[in-house]
């Protein structure tokens, strides 16, 4: 039969853990970024590169029809929207102040999660609609000299791909995200009540 003071001596007498060395930690912290924001940063960079390439194509290639320019412009606007959403998330991840008290911190996390769920719910629809319009307009001129069979194939493949993304992938993505968010929000609510 042990009392709490004895448990305390057990705790304090515990062997030194296999802990990271200060030099390893220093090396890591200098590298900065956690995995999550690193991934997001990588997405921002790759999308920005695609944006620049596409913009370059629009500026340096000469197209005859206004529909091509309109299509490319819509695709570029969609890319800007997407990049700005990612930058906003990136800032949010960085802005969260880990030095505030846990109750406020959990409240911040909860708001952030809900915000993400809302935005990614309707954002994906807008993204797909804009990309579809952009592609349709772009193909109008680009495929003008192509054979009818090629045109049909190009439109069908693009259309099917977009339908697949919207119906199947979007559903999977949203369900997956929602499931994780719900789980996390539930846990956050439970945790918050523990600190009340």
């Amino acid at each position: 039969m042990k009392d709490f003071d004895q448990l305390m001596s057990v705790w304090q007498g515990q062997p030194k853990p296999d802990q990271l060395s200060v030099d390893d930690v220093l090396k890591q912290v200098k590298k900065g970024m956690s995995g999550m924001s690193n991934k997001l940063l990588w997405n921002i960079v790759s999308m920005s590169v695609s944006f620049i390439l596409f913009l370059g194509a629009m500026l340096f290639f000469v197209f005859k029809s206004w529909t091509t320019y309109a299509g490319m412009l819509i695709i570029l606007i969609t890319m800007i929207l997407y990049i700005s959403m990612m930058i906003r998330d990136y800032k949010l991840i960085h802005k969260r102040d880990a030095t505030i008290n846990p109750t406020d911190y959990l409240q911040n996390l909860k708001e952030y999660q809900k915000n993400r769920a809302e935005v990614y719910g309707w954002m994906l629809y807008i993204y797909v609609v804009l990309i579809s319009i952009g592609m349709a307009l772009y193909f109008f001129e680009v495929l003008q000299s192509a054979t009818r069979a090629f045109k049909i194939t190009a439109y069908s493949v693009t259309g099917l791909w977009l339908v697949f993304c919207t119906v199947y992938l979007r559903k999977r993505f949203v369900n997956n995200e929602q499931e994780k968010l719900n789980l996390m929000i539930d846990r956050l609510i439970r945790l918050q009540s523990q600190f009340d």
Partner: protein, 165 residues
């Protein structure tokens, strides 16, 4: 930069052991505890210039560690499947048994507590003053005393119950 590095090393050496205990108490897993320790000190490094001695540095670091532990549940691969359940703690206990049976049993009992209780009790076990724990956890001191009393009782009960088995 060299000054910042020196300050960081000093802070790490003075606090890392206790922060590791906190993280280990929360997760019950050595790798996860080291990850959380690293993440905590990453935030310490990033915010070191902002620290204006508004509180003791250890209080400040503890708060970062507590919030880092709470965000631990964010990661998708850890969600649900890697939560610290008594079953997982049981398996992990086997891995650490050679270290120290009593310590392992104590960690097992800590794993049975609620998340906030795990965090609070590791600070109590490290003999941190109550006002400091209250400040870190954002709970009023009066409330905290009641909580600590209950957690101590529960932990002792659990420990004695398992020791008899």
């Amino acid at each position: 930069m060299a000054e910042k590095e020196a300050a960081f090393k000093k802070i790490f050496e003075a606090n890392s052991k206790k922060i590791y205990h906190l993280c280990y108490g929360y997760t019950g897993d050595d790798d996860a505890a080291n990850d959380l320790l690293q993440e905590t000190f990453l935030k310490v490094w990033q915010d070191l210039n902002k620290f204006r001695n508004q509180a003791m540095i250890s209080t400040w670091i503890y708060r970062i560690a507590v919030n880092t532990c709470l965000t631990y549940l964010r990661s998708e691969k850890r969600q649900a499947k890697d939560e610290l359940t008594p079953e997982i703690a049981e398996t992990r206990i086997e891995e650490v048994s050679e270290k120290n049976e009593q310590v392992a049993l104590l960690y097992k009992c800590i794993s049975k507590l609620e998340e906030s209780e795990r965090i609070i009790i590791t600070m109590v076990l490290d003999e941190m003053p109550y006002p400091e724990i209250a400040e870190i956890s954002g709970i009023s001191e009066g409330n905290l005393r009641v909580k600590i009393f209950r957690i101590k009782q529960r932990l002792t009960e659990l420990y004695n119950q398992y020791e008899r088995l």
